[in-house]
Each structure stands twice: as structure tokens, then as C-alpha cells.
């Protein structure tokens, strides 16, 4: 085990996979000479050279599309988009092409492409640079979607993503890059897609939280325990496609209460999707409606106090959990 920043865990995953497999190459805006807008790729150009680590022009749709073509031809490209907001420029290549090519050509060809990008608010980057858009990707069959919250998952999931034969949307979080965590040293430390992480066990309420919110939820769970005597079980799904619904359902069957926490928009978000699934599959086990805590349904404002209230913090999670408990027996 080593203590690594999330950013460096990602960098280590890239470095190891570049070493392991000659077919892996990186492409993206300012990932080379500049070292990456968030420095995830720092040092890799120096180590692997211009053939494997490629600075691109600002042409998101084409960068991703070239990744698709290269992947179809046997390479394993990892494309970095500077933030998830710019992935909207590449949405055609991601959805109409990367996601559907394997199916539409009858399984003849594979698209082992990884598209990495960070999301998230908290740094006053305003309405064009702050959104959490995982819900747009989880909607699309053919994509895998990872949302790592810890350094260990960042590394293990990224390595798995690069080795996977499906196109993977790999969503990092800007506020996590500096967070340290224990990371297994082994070059074969892989984290499987479709296996949730139970970061805290508890019997009173299940809290499912994605991306950065997994950490916020853990802190909320500590408050619930310390101040309210409530034992929350905290689940980080790690990947939204595939989804480890079994782990979530098992927990809900135990706690009979469920709170879902996401940073993105509520209408048609991750929370709506999980709430629908949980209500469908565990209806008789629920003692209260599934509660959702989400980002506010607004473009992210620049103003610090407005931004602060536009995405969830512990108090909302604590409140939501207490509400599901207050509702117990009310039916």
C-alpha cells in the first residue's frame, strides 16, 4: 500500500498500462507539454514520448472519433477531455459511434476506448465548466460508466477500463484530485466494474452516493452516528454501467430505507434512475419513500455563496436520512 493522491493514482494507472501494453496510447488537449490541465498525465510525455502521449488540437468530436477508429483497428486509446462539459461537443462520436459500433456491425469489431474526464463544482468555474453529467452517459446502452471516488478505485477502475473491450466513460472529479488514499501497490490491482463498494456498514438506512458524493456521504454517516445514533450503510456503486444493483438491494432489504446522493441535476438524474430501480425491486421492503439529494436544478452559478448551495453537503444528506427514519411506521 502507498498513500497517493487520486490524481497520482490515475497517473500511476496510466503509466503502468502504457508500460504493460504497447497498444495503449493517450490523446488529449494539453496532456503532454503542459502536463494536463489537472496534471494527471504529468511526466508521461517525457517518459513515453510523442508517439504514445499526444497533444491534440481543440477538436473534441474528432479526438474521440479518432479514438474510436484507432480502437477498431486494434489500439487501446485513452482520450482525455479537459472537463466533462466539453464532452457535449463529442456526444455524436460517443453515442452514435463508440457506443453503437460493436452492436451495429453485428459484433465484428470492438471499440476498446476509454474517455477520461473530470466533472464537478466547487471552484467557481461557472455555468460552462462545473456540471456533473454522468446521467447523460448512463442512459446509453453500449457504454460502460465509471465514477471512482477514491484513489484506490481511481487506479483500479482505470486499469480495468483500459483492459476492457468496451468503450468506457471514465468520470473523475475535480475536487478529488488532491485527496489522498491508500492504494495497493500491485500492478495487477484491478477493480472490477459492476461491484459496489460498501464504505460503511449500518443497519438503519442505506445511503447510495456517487462520485465525490461518496465521500460527502461518509462524513454525513459519521454525523448521523455521532449526533443522531443512526447507523447508516454507505454504498458507492463505483460504476453506473454495469450497476451493482444486488448490493444496493441487499442493503435496502436490511435497512428498509434508502437515500441517494448525487451532485448532478435531479430531473432524470442518477438518483431518479436508482430510486426507480430500488422502488421497483424492493417496494415491499421500503418503510419510507426513497429520498434523493441532488445538485440544484440550475446551471451552476459562479457566485461562491450560490455555488455553495447548489450542490449537496452533509447537512442535506443527514436531513434526508433522518426524514426516511421519521417516516418509518407512518404508513
Amino acid at each position: 500500500m502507498s498513500e497517493l493522491r487520486y490524481r497520482d493514482a490515475l497517473g500511476a494507472a496510466l503509466r503502468e498500462e502504457l508500460h504493460r501494453d504497447e497498444r495503449v496510447l493517450l490523446m488529449g488537449e494539453d496532456i503532454g507539454v503542459f502536463g494536463g490541465a489537472f496534471k494527471v498525465t504529468a511526466g508521461l510525455l517525457e517518459e513515453f514520448g510523442e508517439r504514445r502521449v499526444r497533444d491534440t488540437p481543440i477538436s473534441e468530436n474528432t479526438i474521440v472519433g479518432m479514438g474510436v477508429g484507432a480502437a477498431m483497428s486494434g489500439l487501446r486509446p485513452v482520450v482525455e477531455l479537459m472537463t466533462i462539459n466539453f464532452s457535449l461537443l463529442a456526444f455524436d462520436q460517443i453515442v452514435n459511434h463508440a457506443a453503437h459500433i460493436h452492436y451495429m456491425f453485428g459484433g465484428q469489431v470492438r471499440v476498446p476506448l476509454v474517455v477520461r474526464m473530470p466533472q464537478g463544482a466547487g471552484h467557481q468555474l461557472g455555468p460552462t465548466h462545473s456540471h456533473c453529467l454522468e446521467a447523460l452517459f448512463l442512459h446509453v446502452p453500449g457504454l460502460l460508466v465509471a465514477v471512482p471516488a477514491t484513489a484506490a478505485d481511481a487506479k483500479g477502475l482505470l486499469k480495468s477500463a483500459i483492459r476492457d473491450d468496451n468503450p468506457v466513460i471514465f468520470i473523475e472529479h475535480e475536487s478529488l484530485y488532491g485527496v489522498r488514499g491508500e492504494v495497493p501497490d500491485s500492478e495487477e490491482h484491478l477493480v472490477d466494474f459492476g461491484r459496489a463498494r460498501v464504505s460503511r456498514e449500518g443497519s438503519d438506512v442505506t445511503i447510495v452516493a456517487v462520485s465525490r458524493m461518496a465521500l460527502t456521504a461518509e462524513r454525513a454517516a459519521a454525523v448521523l452516528a455521532d449526533e443522531h445514533g443512526v447507523q447508516a450503510e454507505v454504498i458507492d456503486p463505483r460504476t453506473l454501467r454495469p450497476l451493482d444493483l444486488d448490493t444496493i438491494l441487499a442493503s435496502v432489504r436490511k435497512t428498509n430505507r434508502c437515500v441517494i446522493v448525487e451532485e448532478g441535476w435531479p430531473h432524470g438524474g442518477v438518483g431518479a434512475n436508482l430510486a426507480a430501480l430500488v422502488c421497483e425491486q424492493a417496494f415491499d421492503d421500503l418503510d419510507a419513500p426513497v429520498a434523493r439529494v441532488s445538485g440544484a436544478d440550475v446551471p451552476m452559478p459562479y457566485s461562491k455563496p450560490l455555488e455553495d448551495i447548489a450542490y449537496p453537503h452533509e447537512p442535506q444528506i443527514v436531513d434526508a436520512a433522518l426524514q426516511t427514519l421519521g417516516a418509518a411506521g407512518s404508513r
Binding site: L25, R51, R54, T56, P57, S59, N61, T62, I63, V64, G65, M66, G67, V68, G69, A70, A71, M72, S73, G74, L75, P77, D92, Q93, N96, H97, I101, H102, Y103, M104, F105, G106, G107, Q108, V109, R110, P141, G142, L144, D164, D165, N166, D192, F193, G194, R195, T239, R241, P242, L243, D244, L245, L277
Partner: protein, 385 residues
């Protein structure tokens, strides 16, 4: 037509090769004519975009490639599959939506594919294939081979953002790709001069570092000559080139196009330059072909297409329970839920009674207000009444 010009004869390849070009153009023509008939008989659904009139651009360019080179096309790609050697049976079966189709019935007319023959696909999104072709070329470059990728697209596609993005990147990274604009004078119903400020499409790469040239896309010899030069230049100099092939689409954009955007006279004029008879005459005049051989070539094409239709007819439809196959590559132990099945495909109507009820319902909601064979017409808004 008289005796061919000496210059034309001088440009002719070996007789065998010349005859093969004629045969392939003829096969494509006959194949597409038959596909059109099959569409009218509702054997083929969806859209059907024919390249009738554009065969010289297809054969002239593809024959400039080695078998190890790659070809990337658009939704107008039956000919591109055939010229690469995909059996007509598999192309027709794809049009019929059968399991033996070259995309297993999943893609249809717009999405042909043949990995083995390095035909890297037809794509339904205008402009979507350019970055993909550049990616294929990147892989060739990365692995140090001397393969070249030929990427074809239409005049209308030059206005898509990917055009500028991809040409710049290909020039910057010196990727071995030939960009070929099949300028058939229209993007759907919009004439070239109504969609592009610059109509001399060779020039489209000027600000992007990609030199351009043109060829006569009604002349397989000229197309082949120019593309051969371009392909070899790209192979050795490793810089992309843009080639405009000037041609014309004889048929509508797709099957039910009323073609109000052009005159019958204009079409007739271009039809006089039909590349297949023109090349046939040239070969006859040059003594490379006799009338009997010419008829044989046509008869062979027709027979081959007959066989393709028969094959397609007898190929089964995909099984319902294959619906979820190949959404994902699932080749080792897997966890988690990949697909959400809120409707079970098996539960859909299958008993005759249910099927009948469903048909009636469809009719009521207008989908089948119009006979099936006119579904394209419906989609294009031209109704049977």
C-alpha cells in the same frame, strides 16, 4: 461513340484488369437495381441509398488500394462493400436484415461492414466517418505499417465540423489517409452551390494543410489514375490528400425522393455520361473486349445478384433472443447489471392473434397507413394517396 481517343487507350490497364473493373461496376449497378426492386417489394426496409451513376468513383478509387489498405464509407456504401470483395450474398442479406448479412442484420443498408476485407464500415451520420478513418490511419501509422486508409464522403459532408477538425489533425500528425469527396452535386435535395460557399471542393483543404486535386468521377480511368497517385503519395510522403471526384447521382437521394430540386434534363445530360457504357465502349474500341464478353459480364452480374437474392431470402431472421447480443463484449466473468430490461423481448407479440392486433394498431397510428413498400415514402412525407 466512335473510336476511342488514343490517349484513353494509352491509359488502359492490363486487359484482365480493365475487364474486372467493368465487371465490378456492372455488378454494383445490377446489385443496386435489384436492391431497389427488392425495396419496392418490401423485402428491404428503412432507407436505401443507391450510388447508381457513381460506380466509377467506387471502382476507380478502391482499385487504387492494396488489399491491406482500409476503406471507410458512408450510408451509401453497397458498392464499397462489393468492390472490396464482400460477397453480394452477404450484402443482400444485410439489406434483407438477415443473420447472414455482413452486419448480421443489425445495420441495414447504411451500415455495411467487413473487417476481414478491411472495409471499415458504412456510417449513417454525415461527417461521422472522417475522424474514424483518421483513427484507423493513426493505428496504421502507430504500428509502423505502410497501409493507407481511403475515406469517402459526400459534398454535403464537407460542411460538417469534423471535416475541418479531421483534415487539420491528419495533416498535423501526417496520417496516411486519402480523403475523397464524392461530389455528386447534391446533399440530399440541396445543390452544391446552395450548401457550400466554395464549390471547387479541391480547395476545401487549403486552409487545413491538405492539398487537393480533382478527378472525373464519370471516368474510371481518370479516377483510378488520380487516386493511384494520391494513395501512393500518401503512402510514401505520409501526408493526407483531398481528392474530389466529380460525379452525379442518377437516382433520388433515397428511394422515395420526388426530385423536385433538379430538372429531368439535367439528369438526362449526366446520364449520357453513364460511366459503365462509356467504359464498355472504350474497351470495345480498344479491342480489349468483344460484344460477347460484354454481354457475358452483364449476364454474370445478373446471375450473381440472383444468387444473392436467393441467399438472402433463405437466410433466417435474427432470433428474438439475440436482441441483447453484442451490446457489450462480455467475454469473461462479469458482475453487475449491464442492461436494464424493463420489457422482456420475449414478451412481445408473437402469437398470430397478437400480431394481427398489433398490425391493426400500427395502421391506426399511421405507421402503416401506407403500404410497407412505401415506408420510405412515408418517411419522406410522400404519401400513397
Amino acid at each position: 461513340m466512335g473510336a476511342p481517343a488514343k490517349a484513353d487507350v494509352a491509359r488502359l490497364p492490363e486487359p484482365d484488369v480493365a475487364r474486372e473493373w467493368l465487371a465490378t461496376m456492372t455488378l454494383i449497378r445490377r446489385f443496386e437495381e435489384r436492391a431497389g426492386e427488392m425495396y419496392a417489394r418490401a423485402k428491404v426496409g428503412g432507407f436505401l441509398h443507391l450510388s447508381i451513376g457513381e460506380e466509377a468513383t467506387i471502382v476507380g478509387s478502391a482499385r487504387a488500394l492494396r488489399t491491406t489498405d482500409y476503406l471507410v464509407s458512408t450510408y451509401r456504401s453497397h458498392g464499397h462493400a462489393l468492390v472490396r470483395g464482400t460477397p453480394p450474398e452477404k450484402v443482400m442479406a444485410e439489406l434483407f436484415g438477415r443473420v447472414d448479412g455482413c452486419s448480421r442484420g443489425r445495420g441495414g443498408s447504411m451500415h455495411m461492414f467487413d473487417l476481414e476485407r478491411r472495409f471499415m464500415g458504412g456510417y449513417g451520420i454525415v461527417g461521422g466517418n472522417l475522424p474514424i478513418a483518421a483513427g484507423v490511419a493513426l493505428a496504421s501509422d502507430y504500428t509502423g505499417t505502410d497501409e493507407v486508409t481511403l475515406c469517402t464522403f459526400g459534398d454535403g459532408a464537407c460542411n460538417q465540423g469534423t471535416f475541418g477538425e479531421t483534415l487539420n489533425l491528419a495533416a498535423l500528425w501526417r496520417l496516411p489517409v486519402v480523403f475523397m469527396v464524392t461530389n455528386n452535386q447534391f446533399g440530399m435535395g440541396t445543390a452544391l452551390q446552395r450548401h457550400s460557399a466554395v464549390t471547387d471542393l479541391r480547395r476545401k483543404g487549403e486552409g487545413l494543410g491538405v492539398p487537393g486535386m480533382s478527378c472525373d468521377g464519370m471516368d474510371v480511368l481518370d479516377t483510378h489514375a488520380v487516386l493511384s497517385w494520391a494513395v501512393e503519395r500518401v503512402r510514401t510522403e505520409r501526408r493526407p490528400v483531398l481528392v474530389e471526384a466529380i460525379t452525379y447521382r442518377f437516382r433520388g437521394h433515397s428511394m422515395a425522393d420526388p426530385e423536385q430540386y433538379r430538372t429531368k434534363e439535367e439528369v438526362a445530360q449526366w446520364r449520357e455520361r453513364d460511366p459503365i457504357p462509356a467504359f464498355g465502349e472504350l474497351l470495345l474500341g480498344a479491342g480489349v473486349l468483344d460484344e460477347r464478353q460484354r454481354e457475358q459480364i452483364d449476364a454474370d452480374a445478373v446471375a450473381r445478384v440472383d444468387a444473392a437474392v436467393q441467399f438472402a431470402e433463405s437466410s433466417p431472421h435474427p432470433e428474438p433472443d439475440s436482441l441483447y447480443d453484442d451490446v457489450y463484449v462480455l467475454d469473461r466473468a462479469r458482475w453487475g447489471t449491464y442492461s436494464v430490461k424493463t420489457t422482456d423481448p420475449q414478451a412481445h407479440p408473437s402469437s398470430p392473434a397478437e400480431r394481427q392486433r398489433d398490425d391493426a394498431a400500427q395502421a391506426a397510428d399511421g405507421a402503416d397507413e401506407i403500404p410497407q413498400q412505401m415506408s420510405d415514402a412515408l418517411l419522406l412525407g410522400e404519401e400513397a394517396t
